[in-house]
């Protein structure tokens, strides 16, 4: 693949990113809401499952758009939410912190 083809691919991926940004925002929104609910001891079973799913999807997708750090953070969240009994109460602040970092990563992708 020569340089111009590589540039064309990068541009096409950027277009896909723009197309799917609302979906990425929605997933991060789920993680933000879940983190707040967990901190307030109000995380429902449905929210728990949605957060696990959102983290899993972000972990699988962000790296393909060049956001490797986003994948690492989303994977950390997925591990926390994958506990059947819900996240460990000791990680409540971390859930919120990662959701905020993910928000910043997706909003600042160049």
């Amino acid at each position: 693949m020569d340089a111009s083809e590589q540039t064309a691919l990068t541009e096409a991926i950027n277009k896909l990113w723009t197309q799917f940004l609302p979906q990425m925002r929605e997933r991060v929104g789920v993680l933000e809401t879940s983190a707040r609910a967990f901190a307030a001891d109000k995380l429902s079973l449905a929210q728990h499952a949605e957060a696990n799913d959102a983290a899993h999807k972000l972990a699988g997708a962000l790296g393909s758009f060049g956001l490797t750090k986003g994948t690492v953070l989303a994977r950390e969240l997925e591990i926390m939410y994958s506990r059947e009994s819900g996240p460990d109460p000791a990680v409540a602040a971390r859930l919120d912190e990662i959701a905020a970092q993910l928000r910043s990563i997706i909003e600042n992708r160049k």
Binding site: I13, L16, K57, G60, L62
Partner: protein, 124 residues
């Protein structure tokens, strides 16, 4: 002649990035399906040279779709590569034990995905 690949994944973003990657980097023909059931139908219709199959899908998941592909004599011979965001070792072993050609991981690099697939299938 260009290879024909069927991508089965319920996530639009993954399906579209993978399709873009395989078409523009490798020049392969790409057919897509957004569920296991649709994937079974597409595989029988278009007879791809290989199938890239997501593991976690609602309804019929990847392993079930794979077993259905193997049951049908028309599609039983088509090489299948699983695509998963699960990175835990026990998941990897479970998927490899199914008898697929390979297990590839999300996120993939759009620049090198076709090379990974070609390497597994001996298309280099």
């Amino acid at each position: 002649m260009a290879h024909r690949i069927l991508i089965i994944d319920d996530e639009d973003d993954i399906r579209e990035v993978a399709a873009l990657s395989l078409e523009s980097v490798a020049g392969w023909e790409v057919v897509t399906a957004n569920s296991g059931a649709q994937g079974l139908a597409r595989a029988a219709e278009c007879m791809p040279d290989a199938i890239l199959l997501d593991v976690m899908m609602p309804g019929m998941d990847g392993p079930t779709t794979f077993r259905e592909l193997r049951k049908n004599p028309a599609t039983a011979h088509i090489p299948v590569l699983l695509l998963t965001a699960k990175v835990q070792a026990n998941d990897q072993r479970r998927f490899a034990d199914l008898g697929v050609e390979a297990v590839l991981f999300k996120p993939f690099d759009p620049l090198t995905l076709s090379n990974q697939i070609a390497g597994v299938l001996g298309w280099n």
